[in-house]
Amino acid sequence: MSSVYNQGSTLFLSDALVLSNLSEVDQTVRLLFSEHPSAQWQVNLDTLERLDTAGALFLHQLSALANQHESSLQLGPLPEHLQSIFQFATPLPAAAKPTPARIPFLERFGASAYRFIEHAADFLYLMADLSYFSVQALWNRRAIRRDAFVDQAYAIGAQALPIIGLILFLIGAVSALQSAAQLRQFGADIYVADLLAIGITTELGPLMTAIMVAGRSGSAIAAEIATMKFSEELDALRTMALEPLRFVAVPKMWAMVVTVPLLTVMADFVGILGGTVIGVFSMGISPAAFVTQILSSLFLKDILTGLIKSAFFAWIITVIAVYRGVNFSGGAVGVGQAITSAVVSSLVGIIVLDLAFNLLFY
């Protein structure tokens, strides 16, 4: 404990002046200074036994504190054993903060527009390169590693089967229930089968599969490439005369473009199955009538449109995920941002492509 007291204009600081009691000492000293303005203080430190860096800094700043109360202050000699710490803890002048230059609005706007154009150009270059390398890989197999395509197809396609199957089964069932609630009012229950078949094959099947793949595999691709960039693996490939896009991204591109349409076929089937289960067990339509109605409403064009769409969805998901991975910066936070932006941008890309296809085909 420290004791702070005064006898006239002499201020006594004794025992300890350390971080743990500094606040208390500071309050007492401020009170004394305010009670005795315009004084000429002498500080007696003869009985001070302990001092740490915080206490030493306080002593250094005591004079300035007295000046605030229009007083002057003279520090007495410190005991020998505390002098080195007092010298060590000399207050450092605060570094002058550079005042940020005020950038005019037009200049900021121009810089933002320039950055946007730069990013867009980078994205288009990467899209062109990746598409070119992917096509080129069809006859130049050496450019990619053996088994890489199979490994990726397994990870992106086979491993996604259960979750996509479950989601589409449930979506099929919900769609059937929702449409049945409306159609029943007109006694047109059987047309649930038509709505279901067309809705799933042309829209919900490809779209939901792509959304699931974007969340599951698009994020994984962005994370993998970002991590590879962070750990210099991409640089290592370049120094081995291997183009990282070709080596890392092309197998992923082909795995996506091949497996997502296959997943969509499965999703279409399972989605319709989910709706059929509702039609048969909840609406009491006979299985034969429901299936016949489904088959009569399906056209090859609808199914093919859905599959072509899904291949393009796979392509845009891969391009965006690779772009986000390659353009990652920073550490762990950067990887997180790359994943988030890969998924969000992929979803936007999927919806925009979907709109374009609908405008084109319907």
Binding site: A143, R145, E232, D235, A236, R238, T239, A241, L242
Partner: protein, 247 residues
């Protein structure tokens, strides 16, 4: 002595910040060149610029008589096959086994049958004292082992120049000495030109190469280890005599 690397007026910026401010240097064939300097002086940037990973704003880099500026993709690839790079943290491909990492450049750039590639992989692993580790994943290796695998991979295509970024940084003294010995053996036995970035005094002493000392993006000293130790230069002296004041 023939020249392996010639650098003239090399300038590199990170955004608005100049990192290399006009580097001029030459490395002879078969020589060990050590690029050294304090943290942030531009050592790794210089190495990455020489190996083509960073594009300079200005200046010229000539490797094995080839000007690296404006090379087309094929020429770049051909040059890269004549160089080996060992990264600071190994940069092994984590999805591949140790053996696959070393075999990768051989599979991609040669028509060797798999059995022969396997032989070469075993030889490379033996040369870095890691026999029998080809089926292990990089994540199962210690820091020192990863660096040795990285060295084996960098040597896979028998490069004419080997670049090493801080090969012994972060390693215990025994492993660091082993890596240095490996590099010396490669240089003596195969005549490989080696360019090393380091700030480890013990390594610098062991490798006994020609030193290129950088400070604030410029070469402030070029000479032997002995000359550097005797130098009274403001930057060189404190580096070789840490804690002592320059007289």
């Amino acid at each position: 002595m023939e020249t392996a690397i010639r650098i003239a007026n090399l300038r590199v910026d990170y955004g608005e910040t100049p990192v290399l401010k006009g580097i001029d240097a030459e490395v002879g064939k078969g020589e060990i060149a050590v690029i050294l300097g304090g943290s942030g002086c531009g050592k790794s940037t210089l190495l990455k610029t020489i190996t083509g990973l960073i594009e300079p704003r200005e200046g010229r880099v000539e490797i094995l008589g080839i000007n690296t500026a404006n090379l087309d993709e094929e020429s770049q690839s051909e040059l890269a096959k004549r160089l080996g790079v060992m990264f600071q943290y190994g940069a092994l491909l984590n999805s591949l086994t140790v053996g696959e990492n070393i075999a990768l450049p051989l599979e991609m750039h040669t028509d060797l049958p798999p059995a022969q590639i396997e032989q070469i992989v075993r030889l490379r692993l033996a040369s870095v004292s890691l026999e029998g580790t080809q089926d292990r994943m990089p994540s199962e290796l210690s820091g020192g082992m990863r660096k040795r695998v990285a060295l084996a991979r960098a040597m896979a295509l028998d490069p004419e120049i080997l670049f090493c970024d801080e090969p012994s940084a972060g390693l215990d003294p025994v492993t660091a000495a082993e890596i240095d010995e490996l590099l010396l053996t490669l240089n003596r036995a195969l005549g490989i030109t080696i360019v090393i970035v380091t700030h480890e005094l013990l390594s610098i002493d062991r490798l006994d190469g020609r030193l290129l000392m950088l400070d604030e993006g410029q070469v402030v000293f070029s000479g032997s280890v002995g000359e550097a130790q005797r130098s009274k230069h403001d930057v060189v002296y404190p580096f070789f005599h840490p804690g002592e004041a320059s007289s």
